[in-house]
Assembly symmetry: C2
Homo-oligomer: 706 residues x 2
């Protein structure tokens, strides 16, 4: 655990030591010194070098032990073999936080990995917040901190950026300098031995200087903590992230359907979706959104109004908006009338409002004021084509004027490059995102609207179902003792019943006579299914026969199934056959499953049975714990959801019953970490009730000592 | 028909008159003069103004009649009411082409529309090539022509651009001036009264100055001509287009499934796909691709090699490439060995090749030469992060050096903005597209690869099926005479048989006795279906019963069906019931249909039966005429195609039989323009044969005079 106080000292240090400070330009220990001084650091800066001397006008401290006790931040830029000693010495004087810039740790192999483990343990022992190793450093421009060896000082701003790739930090810094973009915090995470993205989210959530958080990550190690922090921060400010290094889908052929489908990128997708993190695929989008979120209020609805001085760009914009979650909605009648009062008759009074090529700034201004005033309008995009008569800079002023007073998000797209350059700079300076072409503008507004919806979702509600955990545990223990990883139907049903899950009447018959007796008892028609702990895909060995109508059929089928299974799987122990009640007619089949993701824990999946999951890959995912809202969504997210709503007069299925089974499965996953994956397949559902017709639980057996 | 010679005179005029030339700055007739002179026009320029005088140093001609006979190009910038007269006079002196800049025609309503029709007729009568009206004009910088009133002179280049939106011309011109992008031709199409996008494609196909064609269109009026020209030109050079004004899907609830689904944007999508036009959604992509195609050779395969000096951007690039049609393929063993000979041991020798942050230009150069030399590599992307030790401009030189000699496409992504600005300018100058972030680079290479594949497709082969057209025509005529738009099953089957299409044995039974007799003849089980010209969705009236096993069942069902249909549709004439052989077990159901698109003619559609088409919208489209290749593709393009390939040991269906039915339907659509739409639903298909089990043809009945 990193104390909040130490994290604060890390970001807002009053005392900073540079371990390995150097007077030789080109050395990292020199660049860190000049960067700190160049950033205008107002606290105490201590160069540390065993040789002493004067570095950038400051007398070097020879020993770490001579630094003040309770030092806020130490930046370590010494050769790798001296890092551990430095940290030990820093720990001894009660240093609150360190940045290890030095490379040569985990990233270079086994030996480096062990070094890293050692410094990590040491930092933890002293509860020091440690950034890196193998990183570029950290900046807090408003506080005069540039504890990095990067080239260039960004200005202070309201965007926080953290990145697992130092190179991306370098590139983005250079880009931000060119675009005059400011940062509240700029963090190169490096190897993430101690501080990682979850700590950043946790800290930045409460950081008043930060309006928007950007992140680049390649992996998340502590998925559940990440999820917890991300969920919390997204309630108050937007988090926009790139996840790089998506694993190739289908690389591993897993043993069950769930396993085969639930590649880890699905887990990241679910994590981002459930926590409210806005995921982008490329760096350009990252910054487009950062600018939008950091300057404009959120739109309070989907209705986008477009004001343009030319038709073509207006149409293009409407097209793009139409394919987004935004709506190019009709304006109110009153607005149209107000526009008609002063716009020329050949203008288009609807939306996009085309005020035509001869529009001057005055016409833009009046139009913008009227349109922004319409209560049906939630956001505004102003298009300008540099025609001969347009007053480009004056129109920019008009846009700024409207934006300042209307309280709604206003975006501009001044098309072209040379003639609109000055106006674009004016707009950006005034905090109005301005783009060269409409696409990026629409995408930004769409993302902001989606975030608005996220932010105003009701608080998630988590259900708790009563269960007979002892009973379930007994079944699991029995399998663990016998070292049987698969809990198959009959015994798995016991687990389900312990959780109150609806299962079909099922009797294990050891002989054909027992089968007939059971069938007579439950009433025809019945199904027969092979019962063996070693056969998980029953159909593959011809082990399932449905719709048996009388005693003769049951008798015959029992013998056939048993013989076939024994022939095809001579190694398998055959316990007999399960006699099972048949599903009522008109039911739909769905699959509900979970699999444990290494980073994020149990991941639930939902889809329609058969080809929908297997061929169409029409599956939705959610990470546990699932809220009621998650269960509601996972059912409705699949493309084939319409089939559950009822076609051609069929009644819709009882989705509430499905959602409950999903929530109970999630609870089961949380209750028993030793259940590695589970599949309810099929779950039968009609307008009244749901039935888990077949089930398979797979245990993770610990290595036996023998 | 526009004579090729006149189009040539239009683009390469030696004599140009400006009708409405003016000496007053700000007037269009003045701007056109200064633009022509500013472009360095070397031919003869005639200002025409009834008042005479000297305009920009040239003596004005007072009357059009005084201009030289056989004038190449006249630019008309007079008030609307004088346009017609001007064109008449120009026609009289044998003018080859005109540009009507004047607005106030079709775009302002009915009166303007009539004016436009008049000038159009006049131009056609004199076979004058006419651009506009209501346009910005045209430029051919290499020929010293700027016959427009746009602000700014673009440089000569190899990109042709035409646009239906004058505003977009203005914006793009301004943008191109800022980016120093050159054009071979720059055309504002305006109202397209005579010259349209199809003429442009036809001309530019053979234009040696044009390497890449860009277009912005809002609609195509002559779809089949557009398709013909686009197909031809895409064989020789890339065409990249934006189609704006996509109609909202599902706006009209059409009467049949095909109609409901085949919105006209699908027709445009099919037109672009089948002709090889590269469709983009936004202007930024238009220009990214234009730069890529105009400067780099096409990649001859999917394998992209990435060379980078940093891990993160390399991973991001691999992610993006992995989701594209490109492959981040393994390098050859020899290449890896060659790299190992000089790269530091901590470099990554695979792909992306990470030559690490301390790489200088020499290391880049050696790496690029070795990687480009690998025969497995088809294209190369060079990433550079501006780290402290990188030599940015020298690396740009290394990239240029490799690109010049390797004959493969080379792209650069120098990340950042300020520090890489000079190197980026050097690369662009040398014809190497350079981007700030990797996404656009990968997208460009992907598009070039897709175009490479298109260009090297075999020539399309069109099949011709023998048919008894007279027989089919007879059935159609019969319905036309009776003014019955729907040709239903029994009679529609006759049409199918005329085309040799396989249909199930079907007998129309007028009574239950006839039904039993027919069933006995064809053998049980049979299906019964209501037969009425007024009932097109038989199931909706309970008019279909399947699997009847004996005479009693047939007898009973006949009566029930007939009674039910009569009760539910008392207005319908009931001819009886069709007795039909049942489909063999294990067949799949597909839907094949067509509908006429107003612009593009018959559009074929294909999908799997039932929910796949109706709920999942999993449908593929092609415009007629279909090549064998098109038929092959339309079947394989749907997501659910895997179901036809056979699951769990089922044999794959006979796709060749399906393709044949699709081609025959396309032929039927071409043979009978009065068949407005058709639906074969379902077509039953198994591993052996296909059967058109149900069919509906809809005629377009001409308004009757009565």
């Amino acid at each position: 655990m990193i104390a909040k106080e130490n994290l604060h000292a890390f970001f807002h240090p009053e005392t900073v030591a540079v371990i390995g400070a150097s007077a030789s330009p080109g050395k990292i220990g020199h660049t860190v010194m000049t960067n700190m001084l160049g950033a205008g650091f107002r606290g105490k800066l201590f160069p540390v070098n065993p040789k002493g001397g004067v570095i950038e006008g400051l007398v070097a401290v020879r020993n770490i032990a001579d630094l003040p006790r309770g030092l806020d931040l130490a930046v370590i830029a010494v050769p790798r073999d001296h890092v551990l000693g430095s940290i030990e010495a820093l720990g001894a004087i009660g240093t609150k936080s360190v940045i290890v810039i030095t490379a040569g740790f985990k990233e270079v192999g086994k030996e480096g990995y062990h070094f890293e483990q050692e410094i990590k343990a040491l930092c933890e022992a002293h509860s020091m917040a440690m950034l890196g190793p193998n990183c570029l450093g950290m900046m807090n421009p408003a506080h005069g901190v540039n504890a990095s060896f990067a080239a260039g000082q960004p200005r202070a701003g309201s965007i926080a950026f953290f990145s697992q790739s130092g190179a991306l930090c370098v590139a983005i810094l250079d880009w931000a300098l060119g675009e005059n973009i400011g940062f509240s915090k700029f963090i190169s995470l490096g190897n993430k031995a101690v501080l990682d993205e979850a700590h950043m989210l946790g800290y930045l959530a409460d950081d008043r200087d930060t309006k928007v958080i950007l992140g680049y990550i390649e992996n998340v190690e502590h998925g559940e903590e990440f999820l917890r922090q991300a969920r919390a921060v997204c309630r108050t400010k937007p988090v926009i992230m790139i996840k790089a290094g998506t694993t190739t889908a289908g690389a591993k052929a897993a043993s069950s359907h769930t396993g085969a489908i639930a590649g880890s990128d699905q887990a990241y997708a679910a994590a981002f979706l459930q926590s409210g993190v806005i995921r982008v695929a490329d760096v350009a989008s990252l910054f487009n959104l950062a600018q939008a979120f950091s300057t404009q209020p959120l739109p309070r609805g989907p209705n986008l109004a477009v004001v343009t001085n030319s038709g073509g760009p207006g149409i293009l914009t409407a097209d793009i908006a139409d394919r987004s979650r935004l709506t190019v909605a009709e304006l109110s009648q009153r607005t149209i009338e107000r526009l008609q009062a002063f716009l020329p008759s050949y203008a288009a009074f609807y939306n996009p409002v085309d005020i035509v090529g001869d529009a001057d700034a005055r016409r833009y201004r009046k139009t913008l004021d009227v349109v922004a005033d319409d209560p049906l309008v939630h956001s505004l995009l102003v298009l300008l084509t540099p025609t001969a008569s347009v007053e480009i800079e004056k129109t920019a002023e008009a846009v700024i004027h409207t934006a300042r007073k209307c309280g709604k998000p206003v975006f501009a797209c001044f098309m072209g490059k040379t003639r609109v350059a000055r106006a674009r700079a004016m707009l950006m300076e005034a905090g109005i995102p301005c783009y060269a072409f409409p696409e990026a503008a629409v995408r930004s507004i769409e993302s902001m609207y989606e975030y608005y919806l996220w932010k105003h979702r009701p608080e998630p509600v988590y259900a708790e179902y009563s269960s007979d955990r002892e009973l379930a545990l007994e079944v699991i223990r029995r399998h663990e003792e016998r070292r049987e990883p698969e809990i198959v139907e009959f015994q798995a049903q016991e687990v389900l019943r312990a959780y109150g899950l609806p299962t079909p009447k099922t009797v294990l018959a050891r002989s054909s006579d027992e089968a007939v007796a059971a069938a007579e008892e439950m009433g025809y028609p019945v199904a027969l299914k092979i019962a063996s702990p070693h056969i998980s895909h029953k159909s593959d060995v011809g082990g399932v026969v449905l719709g048996l109508g009388d005693a003769g059929e049951v008798m015959r089928s029992f013998r056939e199934i048993a013989a076939r299974a024994q022939r095809m799987r001579p190694d398998a122990y055959i316990a007999g056959c399960l006699v099972q009640e048949m599903a009522p007619p008109g039911v739909k089949e769905v699959i509900i499953g979970f699999k444990r993701d290494e980073q994020f824990g149990p991941m639930l999946m939902f889809g329609l049975g058969g080809i929908f999951v297997e061929i169409m890959k029409d599956i939705s995912f959610r990470l546990a714990p699932l809220s009621r809202q998650d269960a509601f969504e996972i059912v409705r997210e699949i493309r084939s959801y319409m089939l559950l709503r009822g076609l051609r007069g069929d009644p819709p299925v009882n989705t509430a019953a499905l959602e409950e089974i999903i929530l109970i499965m999630a609870q089961l996953a949380s209750d028993f970490p030793q259940v590695w994956e589970a599949e309810f397949n099929p779950v039968l559902i009609n307008h009244e009730r749901a039935l888990v017709a077949d089930v398979r639980l797979t245990l993770l057996l610990k290595e036996s000592r023998g």
